[in-house]
């Protein structure tokens, strides 16, 4: 019995490391996907960006996503230290910011003065659409993490569910770090 406990703990640690490695490999494959879209944007349109693009909205969306990374970080940190209540509040704040970001993308699509069938429009709608679908996925999984946190499933020694979701959220933020200048600022 006493020998089995350390073995079980070691098994748990090993499984955690494998999960982390798997998540990073997933990020690597996603990077190839997003990178292909970014490369296609410059291949098809060079550095052309339409003048009518709403720069203010782009900057606001970027700021919202950056702030959501902070709330996600705070959620993970709080739960990792056993502060579940604050963690849940920050998870909720992150979801709200994600929904606001998605709403902003919808507004942007509705006011865009270019169409998906033209050069820049193809890149713009496909890149923002692909990214927005990842944000929506992130909001869904943040919701699941919130649900599990509400049921007391996480503890300082076991919170991979939150860590994984929050890492995914940060990855989506990293993607936007490159998509924002590629779509809005280069012109």
């Amino acid at each position: 019995m006493s020998a089995a406990a350390p073995t079980a703990a070691a098994h748990g640690e090993n499984r955690l490391r494998i999960s982390r490695l798997g998540l990073w490999l997933f990020f690597l494959s996603e990077t190839c996907l997003f990178g292909t879209f970014a490369a296609a944007r410059f291949y098809m349109n060079g550095t052309h960006t339409p003048d009518e693009l709403n720069q203010l909205l782009g900057l606001v969306l970027t700021s919202i996503l950056l702030v959501s990374s902070l709330t996600a970080y705070r959620a993970e940190t709080a739960i990792a230290h056993g502060n579940n209540e604050h963690g849940r509040l920050m998870l909720l704040a992150t979801m709200v910011l994600g929904v606001i970001f998605l709403s902003g993308v919808i507004v942007e699509w509705s006011i865009a003065e270019f169409v998906p069938s033209e050069g820049y429009g193809t890149s713009f709608f496909s890149m923002t659409g692909l990214h927005a679908s990842h944000v929506a996925t992130g909001v869904f999984f943040l919701g699941l993490a919130y649900l599990f946190a509400s049921r007391g499933k996480y503890s300082p020694g076991s919170h991979w569910g939150v860590t994984g979701v929050v890492m995914y959220w940060h990855f989506v933020d990293v993607v936007w770090v490159f998509f924002y200048p590629a779509l809005y600022l280069v012109s």
């Binding site: 640690e13 955690l16 490391r17 982390r20 490695l21 990073w24 550095t47 900057l59 970027t62 700021s63 950056l66 702030v67 990374s69 902070l70 996600a72 970080y73 705070r74 940190t77 709080a78 990792a80 230290h81 502060n83 300082p156 020694g157 076991s158 919170h159 991979w160 860590t163 929050v166 890492m167 940060h170 990855f171 933020d173 990293v174 770090v177 490159f178 924002y180 200048p181 809005y184 600022l185 280069v186 012109s187």
Partner: protein
């Protein structure tokens, strides 16, 4: 590292990211040379990604245990 210190670390990272984003915007609006703009935006983008990956995604702690969060 306790919770307050970790939260403070996150706040520092987000301030750095906000400043870099503002610099990006100023560069895009204020510089005419396309080559300079693209180069600077690429460098700043990599710097921002590095901050997020290290400070928020804990890349250097991939092989640590869950109890070693800090």
């Amino acid at each position: 590292m306790n919770e307050a210190q970790e939260q403070s670390r996150g706040l520092t990272a987000i301030i750095v990211l906000a400043v870099l984003t503002a610099v990006e915007y100023v560069i895009a609006v204020g510089i005419d040379s396309m080559a300079v703009v693209v180069t600077l935006l690429a460098v700043i983008g990599i710097a921002k990604a590095a901050v997020i990956i290290e400070y928020f995604m804990h890349v250097s702690k991939v092989w640590r245990g869950e109890g070693d969060h800090a």
